[in-house]
Amino acid sequence: MTHHGDEHTNAERLAIGLGLFSIGLGLAEALAPGSVARLIGVPSTERTRSTLRGMGAREMATGAAILAQPHRPEWLWARVGGDAIDLALLGGALGSEHTDRRRAAAGTFAVLGAAALDAYCAIELGRATPAFSRGRERVHVEHAVTINKPIGEVYAFWRDVQNFPRFMRHIEAVEATGDRRSRWRATGPAGTRFEWQAEITDDRPDERIAWRSLEGSDVEHDGEVTFSHAPGARGTEVRVRLEYAPPGGAAGRAIARLFGEEPEQQIREDLRRFKQLIETGEIALSDGPGLWRPAQPARRPEDVTKLAGVQR
């Protein structure tokens, strides 16, 4: 699970308002196209009614998309595009002798106003994304995995910090600097490097390990892992919870990428490798260098040995 901040930003609240407006207008256009035609001063013919029904369907679709994802600027830009189409159609109607010019002009001004609001909202949302790079929010991620090994073995593997580079993709090296302290080094996108020191704040064998980063760390975070017996001798349930506060700016974005564009997916993959390593002694590898490449040629040997923890 991933949680970002719980309340909506001002831009998101505006987006939700515009989304509701979209659906209301769309419903009116789709269900009562004749009345809408009269309101904007165009004659209610078969053709204008069917155009309005189409516009209504579009309005409802964008409205629904905005309500589902009020933080995404794309849907607001879709509304701006829709406004442009409406303006073009109204412009065409203004040139027709059957049109009530006064009403059509009022309609045009109304659409221009809506377009300005849509564009403003889209720009504001654009500033704020991606959601978890906003400095004020702490990102909370958790995931569970069941491992077919006794609890003591699983706990001991996790407690030995040296094991982490073997299953966490971005962790390059971990060095124990004391019984409870360790120094971590990770690589991020474009060769960026991050370092932090961590301290274990709670250590109960076969039950729980909790830790937090020390002051001056590049990545401020805390986390815990708990171990419990899976029912019916099904092995050990491992639950990991991580919370971190990405700073703003370019470094923040890089750190966000370090934890993954989708932090939940990242922790899932790391725990999957943890399970593979502890159950089978190695990490399953495709023949290709990852997704969306041909299965051959083989992965670069140095990547493989790093990921698999093979010593040769």
Partner: protein
């Protein structure tokens, strides 16, 4: 080395690719002697399975000689002659310990993709899309075999490639289809599809004690093999009404168990066939299941429907009402090959079955694309092609 590569829908090329290397301590490299084309390879060929990439090496039925083993492989050494099971399984996760090898939790490096489609991921499979692991396949001169200490079966002296090759997939797959029917004395089993898996399902149903087996297809040569070599009574669904015929042949009871050995590219005459063709073309369903629908309707009340055919995504007009109201048991699964290899090898050695009866063609690896055409179009009475890679 040479390998049969998927270059796009209905486009294959045998081309030069880098030789595989040991990547993990439990890997082995196998120099392939014989490799076969599976009916399920046709689903890749015809573009029904997502996440294939241009250049992927096909093939999951293969055998050969071990040429190199990783540091952790102790039961195999260079020179051993082995048959490789198509599911890649670690042998240590909870599913492997339950002998549900095709559900191995650790062998699919791209498990997340399968999870998006199915909720949880099955095992990785050689040469069968990136969603199932992105492993290079066995229609090649060499292959890397992960978890080689768990899967490959050493072949005893005196058995030819043709006799044991099908332990990699189609014999166990047909056998498991019959095994899932829980056959009791007096049972009549109906099998849809007389391809290689269907043929082995017929044979296996007899091995497991079926009284009679009725096989359904539309190609006379396949029905002939089912009758003459596998011992089935046969129905050509283009000539008879299958439901009526089955009812009549079973004294009005209906078959006790029905096996779908067709899978997602089923064919049906008339309106139902046209309906599924249009829906798959429009991507409104991802498989054509007329055989499965018919098997469910044909099955006697309280009977079992066993699905060996491959389905990938979503099918339409699924007769759930028949399952509920007739108290049917629906069973399926990719074959847990590891579970069956040794017992079935014994049946081959004892002479209870000679798996070579399905082979109609031997061709060199270089002719793999032609072989796919023959097999896909049922030309030259093609039932099973074995490719020689060395």
């Amino acid at each position: 080395m040479r390998a049969n590569c998927w270059m796009g829908t209905r486009h294959l090329e045998v081309t030069e690719v880098p030789e595989p290397k040991i990547l993990n301590p439990r890997d082995a490299i196998v120099r392939i002697t014989s490799t076969a084309i599976c009916g399920s390879d046709l689903h890749l060929f015809n573009g029904f399975i997502p996440t294939m990439r241009r250049g992927d090496v096909l093939g999951h039925e293969f055998m050969g000689e071990v040429v190199e083993v990783g540091a952790a492989v102790r039961n195999l050494s260079a020179g051993d002659r082995v048959v490789v099971p198509f599911p890649i399984a670690c042998g240590q996760c909870a599913q492997c310990e339950r002998e549900m090898y095709s559900l191995c939790e650790n062998s699919n490096p791209n498990a997340w993709m399968a999870e998006k489609l199915w909720g949880y991921s099955p095992c990785g499979i050689f040469g069968y899309s990136h969603m199932l692991g992105g492993y290079a396949g066995g229609q090649a001169e060499y292959a890397r075999v992960p978890f080689a200490d768990t899967g490959p079966l050493k072949v005893p002296e005196g058995l030819t490639d043709d006799q044991v090759l099908f332990l990699s997939d189609i014999f166990p797959t047909g056998y498991m289809a019959a095994d899932m029917c829980h056959i009791q004395p007096g049972d009549i089993v109906a099998v849809w599809g007389c391809g290689p898996v269907g043929q082995f399902a017929i044979k296996s149903a007899y091995l497991l004690g079926a009284e009679r087996v009725i096989a359904i297809d539309r190609f006379p040569y396949r029905l002939d093999i089912a009758r003459q070599k596998a011992g089935a009574e046969v129905l050509n669904y283009e000539q008879v009404d299958v439901l009526e015929a089955l009812e009549e042949m079973t004294g009005g009871r209906g078959p006790d168990a029905c096996i779908d050995a067709v899978g997602l590219e089923g064919h049906a005459p008339g309106m139902m066939g046209a309906y599924d063709r249009i829906k798959t073309i429009m991507m409104l369903e991802t498989g054509r299941p007329p055989a499965l629908r018919e098997a469910i309707i044909a099955c006697r009340s309280g009977g079992t429907v066993s699905v060996a055919g491959v389905y990938g995504g979503f099918i339409d007009k699924f007769p759930m009402g028949a399952i509920v109201n007739k108290s049917l048991t629906l069973r399926s699964g990719q074959c847990h090959v590891h579970r069956y290899m040794k017992p079935l090898l014994q049946r081959i050695q004892s002479g209870e079955i000679d798996p070579t009866f399905v082979i109609t063609h031997h061709m060199p690896l270089d002719q793999a694309p032609e072989a796919f055409d023959l097999f896909a179009n049922k030309e030259d009475e093609c039932l099973k092609v074995v490719l020689r890679a060395h």
